[in-house]
Amino acid sequence: MIQIHNLCIQLSEFSLKNINIHIKEHEFFVLLGPTGSGKTLLVESIAGLTPITSGKIIIKGQDMTHAPPEKRKVGIVYQDYALFPHMTVMENIQYGLAYHTHGPDDLQRIQDLMTKTGIIKLSHRKIKHLSGGEKQRIALIRALAVNPSVVLLDEPLSSLDPGFRDDIQNLLKMLHKNTGTTFLMVTHNFAEAFFLGERGAILNQGVLEQCSPVDALFSSPQTPFVARFVGFKNIFRAQIKNNLAKTNHFELEIPPPILPDVDQICFRGEDIQVFSTRPNSNQRNTLYGKIQNIIDRGPYFDLSINVNNTLIHVSMTKSELINNAYCVEKEIYLVIPNQAIHTLAADKTYVENEFPNLGNT
């Protein structure tokens, strides 16, 4: 559907480097990454709104690398809606029809979409009198009205109130299912990515870090950046040999298979089991430590555990913390299930001291 081959964009202060992504037909693809990672630039290059330095963009089998935006059949929806303020709702939605051959069926299809999304009653209203949720619905229908090959969504939910956000998420799911259109959505919201996305990619400083099914992005990160980005708080350099990862502070048994060139391990704080007394002596991957700090994060607590002069971060619920009377200086045992441990390939950008090393290494 969309094939991006070795795409490079060189701007004065930023560059996209060697991006390779293949988005399948009818797929809902999510593009994740921190602010300034190049997500919007990538989307605008697919839409033909940013000139590319090198590489190829193929849409529906046609080389569109240098095609003007109006020839690409690519709809775009921005977070700030970008509705035409001097037109009514209906004029906005029908704007693109002037440039596409259309028949009564198309008008009926648009009418149906407007009815399903509840904006039919707003047809003759001016844009400035509408709510954020209504504006985003109109922007979506406007993009779909011209039957695009793909709809590019640039953080479409980020400027909406939480109530509207859920509505639009459901609407996106429904539109994707009913229209069969391919969607590419930029987001930095994990919940949105999980709810809507089938596959996804993570960008960092113009570099594609990982491209895989969305659940794999969150459960099996392949680089330290992805691990950190999706919430792995414990990342350690390790010597890995025969299913054993040896860090400077502890040893853990890790699950096979072990890929070549891996030199780091990571695990989530919420996957760690915490015990006040030593668990069964047969339990593998048991570490002894002392609680050094507790931070209240609202729905959960973050505990920093000093294990052999390095910190391991653990997340737990308030009830678990209170029931076990965990407090600073308390001595505890951590069990890290080996299925929760992931290996990561070498990465020069990784900075180990983001996780404080207490010396004695």
Binding site: E44, L49, E70, A82, F84, P85, Y95, G96, Y99, R142
Partner: protein, 261 residues
């Protein structure tokens, strides 16, 4: 409890009143000075009618030329970044900072037969010295920066994403400009037109060098002042202000559309 007045706010209010008085007192004095008989007599004076008519015509032409040439240029400045853009913007502002008679002399320098451009224009039968065309050229020169800067700001205020969406919906660059950008910049274009027109209608220094005759209203005011004194120049000035004011109000009313970009 005693109401507290911030000293800085008091200074601001005093400065505001001072500036308003500074502007309004001489203008009000001038408006009230001529008797009704003098005003009506001036309205009937064919020289005054011709001069005001010529000022309106030449200023309108200058604003029209600024609109035709300046609008695409303003769009380019608003939307594109290119090497030397700052220099280009500086050149646009030059006519604002150069003394007005200098502008007249500069234009005279290139329309004479000694200059290749002047020689070319002569060969084409175009005369600028002492002609209406010459006045229009001078007024376009002085008014253009006001038009371009105003319209450029107007284009900049239109989110480029509106144009992106339009293109993605199938509209060409030209269609996008005429269906999206231009309607949204309409207000700025009218304001730019007014600014250019206002600047042009008030021009004296450059016009008097290039074309003392035919007389525009400012030149006639100057001539009546030097020949007959203040009393005989004031009615023309009052008429010029009233006519211009009516025109500006009309244009403002046309442009009063709330686009809410």
């Amino acid at each position: 409890m005693k109401r507290y007045y911030d000293p800085f706010m008091m200074i601001s209010i005093i400065s505001c009143v001072s500036v308003l008085l500074f502007i309004l007192i001489p203008l009000i004095q001038m408006l009230l000075a001529p008797s009704w008989e003098m005003i009506t007599e001036s309205i009937r004076d064919p020289d005054i009618q011709r001069a005001i008519g010529l000022s309106l015509y030449t200023s309108g032409m200058a604003a029209l030329i600024a609109f035709i040439i300046g609008t695409p240029f303003a769009y380019l400045l608003a939307r594109k970044t290119f090497f030397g853009k700052r220099v280009v913007e500086g050149i646009i502002d030059l006519p604002i900072v150069i003394p007005h008679p200098v502008i007249g002399i500069a234009i005279l320098g290139i329309v004479g037969k000694q200059h290749w451009l002047g020689a070319f224009l002569h060969s084409m039968g175009v005369r600028l010295m002492g002609t209406i065309s010459g006045i229009v050229i001078v007024l376009t020169f002085v008014g253009m920066p006001f038009y371009i800067n105003t319209v450029k700001n107007g284009f900049e205020a239109i989110p480029v994403r509106l144009e992106h969406v339009s293109r993605s919906l199938g509209a060409s660059f030209r269609s996008t400009f005429f269906r999206i950008t231009l309607p949204l910049a309409f207000r700025s274009i009218i304001v730019g037109f007014i600014m250019c027109f206002a600047r042009a209608i008030s021009e004296f220094g450059a016009v008097v060098v290039v074309a003392y005759h035919p007389m525009t209203a400012p030149v006639l005011i100057y001539e009546r002042f030097t020949a007959y004194g203040l009393k005989y120049s004031q009615p023309i000035a009052v008429l010029l202000i009233l006519v211009s004011l009516m025109l500006f109000v009309a244009l403002r009313l046309i442009s009063k559309k709330d686009m809410n970009i």
